[in-house]
């Protein structure tokens, strides 16, 4: 490896955003014919570093060399000219155009869509993609859109590909397909950089890992010579334990009883079909399912945010009295004395207000308190300070707008606020999506603490390994129906996986 010339050498790269130091004298080497996993905690500067390589930002200091010649990349076009292509987390495609049109968009060459389609097919064949150049983007699944993005950069002649958390939006099957394609590209001599938080993906796919911490390069090693524990320790900078606890539930009692819940979307599609289950206090009920199987609708129905068609959602108080939650909005649910906390999937679009600062976001839940016409700003400020201190939120201060924080810190702020109200029911949707491994374990720990305090937790997750380790019981959804409820202890990934794709799993065969 050492005798090979690096495709890219980044040296002493520094980038500041105002007072925030995103990259600090950062190094990185990228080689052809190799898949490099770029690891680091949320906010450690991985994406910023790659954005500088792909021309989105220009470094304040430092140099980039390609094949030992210094290059200046000041626009995405420069990056393409140097063969660098980046696939961002959020796709940059025009919905109403076809794949071929999107791929050729912005290129100076003469527009000949037939020739474009032919070349796209050629690229697809070479690396094993499946994409129809004439298909419109709005007709495509997330994974197909991602494929178009990859083909787009290959079409422009990229031989250094950067993928920013490409698997966050993919199903396990789609992930396998993507990995196969990436391996083909590596074997073809291309340099591939992948940013991811999922350790098993790093181990399965990459040849080498490079680790960033606080914007600095802390080291790299061959994947086969390391393990998840070592990589995590390097990322965090101190030894961390990677165990998820599962204390036994103490005195579980029915808290939420859902019966025959049916939800139809605005377009009339059945999202939840006759769903029934009970969530107990002091217990974590995991919800598994392929994404879009009705998880979002289920949680939003309980939270009073989703118009429903039928069924009932009963809240059972400690003294045994029951309250019907169906058809009530969040305010009337709160007025019933039901303390329900909800950590939604869309953190900045629903759970928090990105442009407001931490203490104003804390106020979202509490601002109605008291009779005064004016808001009480002291209590939320104190709460914000407590959350920052207890959950180790990395922020310049409580007056920083939430949107400036990195994903993991945004989630800590949201979870911190939601559990501050001492809930009896905690709903979480993809609580660790996009979070680095250390933040993820912080969140698991917080959820477990709630469970110990007797909270009924409903945890919608996508990582089956975690669901199996964390949940006391697992509710498996398949196409809006309950495929089964299994105890978390003793369930296998295979069984739950089968139930996710087929109602009842194995039993359906019998």
């Amino acid at each position: 490896m050492k005798e090979q010339t690096a495709a890219v050498k980044m040296r002493n790269i520094t980038k500041r955003f105002g007072s925030v130091l995103a990259n600090d004298q950062c190094w990185l080497d990228i080689y052809h014919g190799e898949i490099l996993a770029l690891l680091g905690e949320n906010g450690s500067g991985k994406t910023t570093l790659m954005n500088m390589l792909s021309g989105i930002y220009y470094p304040d200091e430092g140099h980039i060399f390609m094949n030992d010649e210094e290059v200046i990349i000041k626009s995405p076009k420069d990056a393409f000219d140097h063969g660098v292509g980046m696939i961002h987390q959020h796709f940059k495609l025009v919905d109403v155009l076809t794949a071929a049109e999107n791929i050729t968009l912005g290129l100076d060459e003469k527009l000949d869509l037939k020739a474009v389609s032919a070349r796209v097919r050629e690229i697809c064949e070479r690396y094993g993609f499946e994409v129809d150049p004439e298909q419109k983007i709005y007709d495509m699944s997330v994974s197909q859109k991602q494929t178009v993005e990859i083909v787009k950069v290959l079409y422009r002649g990229a031989d250094i590909l950067i993928l920013d958390e490409p698997t966050a939006v993919l199903t396990p099957q789609e992930t396998d397909k993507l990995f196969a394609v990436l391996r083909n590209m590596r074997d073809d001599g291309k340099a591939v950089v992948i940013i991811t938080h999922k350790m098993h993906e790093v181990e399965a796919l990459s040849d080498r890992v490079a680790i960033l911490r606080h914007g600095q390069f802390v080291g790299d090693m061959l994947t086969r010579e390391t393990n998840a524990q070592e990589m995590t320790n390097m990322m965090v900078g101190r030894p961390v334990t990677l165990n998820i606890e599962r204390p036994d539930p103490v005195d579980p009692r029915p808290r939420i009883e859902v019966k025959g819940l049916t939800v139809r979307s605005m377009d009339g599609i059945l999202k939840l079909d006759d769903v029934s289950f009970t969530a107990n206090s002091g217990e974590i009920l995991g919800v598994a399912g392929i994404s879009g199987s009705g998880q979002k609708e289920l949680l939003e129905s309980i939270a009073g945010l989703q118009p429903t068609e039928g069924g009932s959602i009963c809240y059972v108080k400690d003294d045994g009295t029951r309250e019907e939650l169906l058809g009530k909005d969040p305010l009337s649910i709160a007025e019933l004395g039901v303390s329900l906390s909800f950590v939604p999937e869309d953190r900045l679009g629903m759970g928090l207000v990105g442009n407001m600062d931490l203490s104003d976001n804390m106020m979202l839940r509490s601002f109605r308190r008291g009779r005064s016409l004016f808001t009480d700003r002291k209590a939320p400020r104190k709460l914000a300070e407590t959350v920052v201190a207890e959950l180790e939120v990395n922020t310049p201060g409580v007056t920083t707008p939430v949107r400036r924080l990195s994903g993991g810190n945004v989630q800590k702020v949201l979870v911190g606020r939601e559990i501050a109200s001492a809930p009896t029911v905690l709903l979480t949707a993809y609580a660790v999506r996009g979070l680095d491994i250390n933040s993820s374990y912080t969140i698991y720990d917080l959820i477990n603490r709630q469970k110990r305090q007797g909270v009924a937790v409903i945890y919608v997750g996508e990582d089956l390994d975690v669901l199996l380790e964390l949940s006391d019981r697992i509710l498996v959804l398949c196409g809006g129906k309950v495929s089964g409820i299994v105890p978390g202890r003793g369930a296998t990934k295979r069984d739950v996986g089968m139930m996710m794709t087929r109602l009842g799993g194995n039993k359906a065969d019998a």
Binding site: R11, M356, F374
Partner: protein, 371 residues
């Protein structure tokens, strides 16, 4: 070992938030630069001495005691209307119907003066004028809000169209009430009895508007920044889904805020009719409903800053009329100058958020290349 390549000459770097005095220093520099450019344009286009033109603008705006008071009156009305639209804007409800809401308020108060004048004790009449004017403005404002809340209609078009409806209704009543007949205007209402005229404070007919505007500025400032309503408005404006998630009734906030917005516009109409003009016509609002949009945006919806932005616009427009009479220049010339100044003021915000980083000359070659 490697080819020397050149850094780009400039690149853009995001700044830390600046201390307020440096931000204002940048704004001051922007205004000075704007005045310099205005001077060049003046000399090139008209051949006049720019200093004389500036002096004339200054004289036209604040040259005499009377002119100062007229400036303050114009400022007060513009500020009132700007304050009125601000809560709606903060909610991202684009109320560009302030013109119509002001006219509705003006029409209601004129109607009270004409129909009830001399029949009621003046105190009762004045209270009634205020109530009617405010209510009319509120109703005119709440109609688009109800449609928005119920059927999600486009509030920009709706409020805009309501302006024309209001103007036509006023035009109709001007004919109904015209005096003397055939003149095509209403004339001064109750000229002898002065029924329904607001009393002059300290013998000055403009002072009342100024005091009302000052009180409103403080009210809107506290309402938006410290009240629960103001907080709800901000949340709804930033994200409706978040608002619903925390149990804010978005429809109710939209309707309530537009009631307030319309009511404040109506109050501006009352001030115009019962306070200063004592008559009504369909151009009474004089486009201030639209100027208010600019005042509010320039001040980034901050009521205190709106005092300065509205002052700038009123100052320039008062100066403009003087320039056009003294130099025989078209009124539009002053609009050009105002345009240049506003361009610089908006443009300088870029330099407050970002700074340009220039290529360092004499940079050591390849200082890190061999690392």
């Amino acid at each position: 070992m490697h080819k020397q390549t050149r850094e780009p000459l400039v690149h853009i770097v995001k700044r830390d938030s600046l201390p307020w005095y440096r931000a204002w220093a940048i704004r001051a520099v922007a205004i000075v630069l704007a005045l310099l450019l205005c001077a060049i344009v003046t000399t090139l286009c008209t051949g006049e001495n720019p200093l004389q033109v500036y002096a004339t603008i200054l004289r036209g705006a604040v040259g005499t005691r009377r002119k100062v008071w007229i400036l303050l009156q114009d400022l007060a009305i513009l500020l009132c209307i700007s304050l009125a639209v601000t809560p709606a804007f903060k909610m991202r409800f684009w109320n560009i119907g302030a013109e119509g809401q002001t006219l509705a308020g003006a029409l209601a108060s004129a109607a009270c003066m004409l129909l009830l004048g001399d029949r009621l004790p003046n105190g009762v009449l004045l209270a009634l004028i205020c109530l009617a004017g405010i209510a009319a403005g509120a109703i005119w404002g709440v109609i688009p809000a109800v449609f928005k809340a119920r059927w999600n209609t486009n509030e920009t078009l709706f409020t805009l169209m309501m302006n024309y409806v209001a103007a036509q209704i006023v035009a109709y009543y001007v004919i109904v009430w015209e005096s003397p007949k055939g003149s095509g205007n209403v004339g001064i209402i109750n000229p002898t009895t002065e029924a329904g005229w607001f009393p002059q404070i300290g013998g000055n007919k403009y002072l009342l508007s100024v005091l009302v505007a000052a009180a409103l500025t403080i009210f809107v400032y506290f309402y938006l920044n410290y009240s629960k309503h103001g907080y709800e408005i901000a949340v709804v404006g930033e994200s409706e889904r978040t608002a619903r998630y925390v149990g804010i009734k978005v429809e109710r906030v939209v309707i309530r805020t537009m009631l307030l917005s319309g009511a404040l516009c109506g109050l501006a109409g009352v001030l115009l009719v019962a306070g200063t003009n004592h008559t009504i016509n369909s151009t009474l609002a004089g486009g201030q409903g639209f100027t208010a949009v600019m005042v509010s945006w320039l001040a980034k919806f901050n009521p205190i800053a709106m005092i300065f932005t509205s002052l700038l616009l009123v100052f320039m427009s008062r100066g403009a009329s003087e320039v056009s009479t003294v130099f025989g220049l078209n009124q539009s010339f002053s609009s050009i100058l105002t345009g240049i100044i506003i361009f610089f003021i908006i443009g300088c915000e870029f330099f407050i958020s970002y700074k340009l980083s220039f290529r360092k000359s004499g940079r050591k070659e390849g200082d890190a290349a061999n690392a």
